[in-house]
Amino acid sequence: MNCEQVRQQLLARERPDRPGPALSRHLRGCDACCGWLRRLVKLERALSSVPVEVPPVPAALFEALEPAGPLVRPCVPFRPDRREGGRRKVALASALAAALLLFAIGWWAWPHLQGDPSAPSLAGYAARRDAHLARALTVQQRVQALGTLAGEMLRDSRDAAPADVERLALHLDQLLAVDLPGQARGLSLGEREAVLRPVLARLGGMESEATRLAAARTGKAAAAYARMAVSAREADRRLRAMLPA
């Protein structure tokens, strides 16, 4: 190996200061490369020494911490196995209905238990989501309905007060992180391209819009819009991963 090759390899290592046997052999016989490596290592160690004045943690950050909701399990569409007998189907449906009822009660009660009525919560989200889903008869329609709802939420936020924008950001995150991908997984492979492409186009527009709004607003509203942009972008990634290769 010549000097240029050795230096290239050292630059590409996670730890240039641990060159390994092959590179060490060259370094032992080459003062120029040895000196070069010493400068590189010194440079990297010095980077940590560049002083930066770190401000204290803003009090507003602690004040802005909202109650964390319960861990949410993805909404997987119910697909009964046709091979099961009728009684097992009824039992499963009953258990699911009971679980959903308990979940809805817990969802409603959680913000009240936290005792901070001013903090944004998911209260109201489930009802709005379910109202959209109630009109959808197929999985495709449910995916489209949730995509439409996402756009409506962003539109609603435009003239909203900062606290409402925060609330909508939380709702949108729930929609895009959990409910929409959950429904999308119910699509057959053959359906996904046709159903998900328009949703992806909408998500791209939402991300751009939310980013623009984040720049135009300040404080909590700006942070909420930045969250919305991230939610849209991550949902885009999740749904693209579901498209057929």
């Binding site: 630059l11 990297e44 160690r45 004045e53 401000p55 950050l61 911490l65 909202e66 964390a68 969250r227």
Partner: protein, 189 residues
């Protein structure tokens, strides 16, 4: 305000795991401890990326708020610091798309700091030169290099933070080092 060694102290892993678990259960006090543990190093990294104190502070706040609201998605046992930095990097990437950063020049006088073993080997002028060299790097290269050098993340972890392949993470660190070495050789006699 000031530069403190505790800005970069890592909490012991078992303690951090307790704080994370408690935070996921809704314990704001536990999350506040995580904020205090990571605020300094996250701010520092964001300051190097943005060259703007206010932007760095806003992004750091935003990252912690997002981390708090998405804690349910964090998998216990994985690297919380890398996860947090990833959130911050996403926020930084979003702001890059919308606004040109107002670059504030580095202060002529670097903050006072008691010299440690490394600083005694480097004058304040040299550190200022180095800081300017880092500032010259493109943001993506700078971000990757600092994650490698200051946060001691592996190429794989850097890839996770920046949402790129491991090869791209390695390439960015490579190019950052190459450019920095070349710049310093030009600028220093």
């Amino acid at each position: 305000m000031g530069v403190e060694a505790t800005d970069r102290a890592q909490p012991p892993a078992p303690l951090e795991a307790q704080w994370i678990t408690a935070s996921q259960g809704g314990d704001r006090q536990a999350f506040a401890r995580l904020v205090e543990a990571y605020w300094g190093r996250l701010y520092r990294w964001l300051f190097h990326l943005t060259h703007d104190r206010h932007a760095a502070e806003d992004l750091a706040q935003d990252a912690f708020l997002k981390a708090w609201s998405h804690l349910g998605r964090f998998q216990a046992g994985t690297n919380f610091r890398a996860w947090l930095f990833r959130i911050a990097h996403n926020a930084f990437a979003n702001t890059r798309r919308t606004a040109a950063h107002r670059r504030s020049a580095l202060p002529d006088d670097l903050p006072e700091q008691a010299p440690g073993p490394e600083e005694s080997a480097l004058s304040r002028e040299s550190l200022a030169e180095l800081a300017r060299g880092v500032q010259q790097l493109p943001a993506d290269l700078r971000a990757a290099l600092l994650l490698r050098v200051e946060e001691d993340l592996s190429f794989r972890q850097i890839a996770g933070v920046m949402d790129v392949t491991e090869e791209t993470a390695r390439w960015r660190v490579f190019k950052a080092r190459q450019k920095l070495m070349a710049w310093l050789e030009r600028e220093t006699p």
